[in-house]
């Protein structure tokens, strides 16, 4: 249908406008409204997660960033920059994997945040593991807390964090 030139042009244009517009909006979103889920759904691509979060057991107690961004200041800043760039690039180029699946790095941020809020509940389990790379993933059993049950009601398989970290880097 399209000819090659048109596609290339479209992509380049997309990249320019896209990165410009989105990273701005996105970064802004993160820095000021960082706790407002609306920011995340600036991208319709986040809508499924937004909707499912509203149905989840946590929507009254935790917003996106509570789970997905480090709670400490610097970590938050770095993750923002990293994810911000990543997301807008991916979104503009539309070249990301669908369905979107959380990556190892973000899984670990997530895990820390679970524990952050629930250390009282799980202290016995994690007394020794907070720093351990191979703590059993909360999501291994509680995949549904953030976004309701997957159709399988199953979270990602726990294939051993060591191996997955290698894949990520």
């Amino acid at each position: 249908m399209f000819n090659k030139k048109a596609i290339i042009f479209a992509v380049l244009l997309g990249v320019l406008i896209g990165i410009g517009a989105f990273t701005f909006k996105y970064a802004e979103g993160f820095s000021y409204l960082s706790s407002d889920p609306e920011v995340c759904v600036n991208c319709h691509i986040m809508t499924p997660q937004y909707d499912s979060w509203q149905k989840s057991s946590h929507h009254t107690v935790a917003v996106c960033v509570d789970c997905h961004l480090p709670h400490d200041f610097f970590g938050k800043y770095i993750a923002k920059a990293e994810n911000g760039w990543h997301h807008s690039k991916a979104f503009t180029l539309q070249n990301f994997h669908e369905p979107i699946m959380i990556k190892e790095k973000n899984k670990r941020i997530l895990q820390d945040n679970c524990i952050e809020c629930h250390k009282d509940m799980v202290h016995e389990l994690f007394k020794r593991d907070m720093t351990e790379p191979d703590a059993v993933s909360c999501v291994h059993c509680h995949a549904s807390v953030g976004h309701g049950a997957l159709p399988t009601s199953i979270g990602g398989a726990d294939r051993g964090v060591k191996r997955e970290r290698e894949d990520y880097d």
């Binding site: 202290h123 593991d129 549904s144 199953i154 726990d158």
Partner: protein
Amino acid sequence: LFNIAERKSEEKTPYERLVEVTEDTTDPAVWGKNWPKQYDSYKRTALATRTRFGGHGGSEALPEEKIERDPWLKRMFKGYAFSIDYRDRRGHAYMLEDQEQTKRQTKPQSGSCMHCHSSIMPVYRELGDGDALAGMNKTHAMPYKELNEMVHDMGHAHPVSCVDCHDPESMQIRVTRPAFIVGMQRLAESDAPVPAIPSIDIWRQGSRSKPYDPNEDATRNEKRSFVCGQCHVEYYCSSDFPLTFPWSNGLAMENIEKEWNDTKLSSGERFYDYKHKETGAEILKAQHPEFELWSQGIHARSGVSCSDCHMPYMREGASKVSDHWVRSPLLNVNRSCQTCHHVDEKEILARVDAIQQKNFDLLQRGGAALMDLLDAVEAAKQAGASDEELKPALELQRKAQWRLDYIAAENSMGFHAPQEAARILAEAADYARQGQVEATKLIK
């Protein structure tokens, strides 16, 4: 309010120790002073439980005889102690006394038996001057009664105890059993695929300078299954050579069969556990390969551990503890299954029942085929067939019985890996019938 205050304190000091525990503290009651919640649930393994296929039937006093329930089992074991007394398993609390009391003891048993029925590690260290493996390697030559007495005298006559799965310092779960550690090392050195145990792949890609060490190299999630794999496995356990977990070719049924076929007895003969009383076939006995069958299933390769289902976390006040009342998950579906499968309990039980029913039917089908094989061999002998002529039929009996027993002895009635269990039973029936054909040809 008190209540809350109380909880808060609970939270702060979960591991506050009232008493010291060491590698030699095998008495769970002592550990229980430090960790009363786990100890309380641990003690419940003395309670009788029953599901359709799990737990045990029979009186509270003694579990039901498997060999009475399925007469073909009894005939399959003719010539072996299992044909005398072979019952349903029951809770961990009984493991030692049930072993001491089984009528299988009327035949001389080896010291190896103690490996999985008592908190024996200090005794192994004693026998091996500190080296547990060396110690274990002496026990197969000892009569059961002798080693059993030694365990009693040294004060370690407890069923599986805290120290068998926990490091007394850190409380980390860990494995202790030498036979398991050796078995896992051989597995790691093989090139068998192990999707259920990713840490082995990682070790294989490493320098291999040190042998694979389950306590060092495995993830905690894997250890949540390893602790069980110390005992819920197929084994050789008699006086000819040390207790062996046959994993050097892999964890699949065929891999294990190959290891036994490649093994020689000190007599120089090809390995066998017993000769069948009726036919004289050299038979392989399979014992509770839960760990092996699990490893072939979808749960295992999804990282679901034994403990996830058999020791689920339970809420205790403001904290969570692992339910140490190790038992059938069907008695605890909401914790064992529903955290992952958000479907109602009736449906979950129906799914299990559908799987187990199909497996049960295939098991009976295999049993019938094996009985027909034995009858045919009988008839062929009557008709004057020579041992030489009977050889093919007897080889097929060995293959068929190995497969049939493998799933009969496994305790989940196929649940741990439904397709794999069905596949093994399909081969069992096929080989049994092939043997029947061979024997029938000899009935002139």
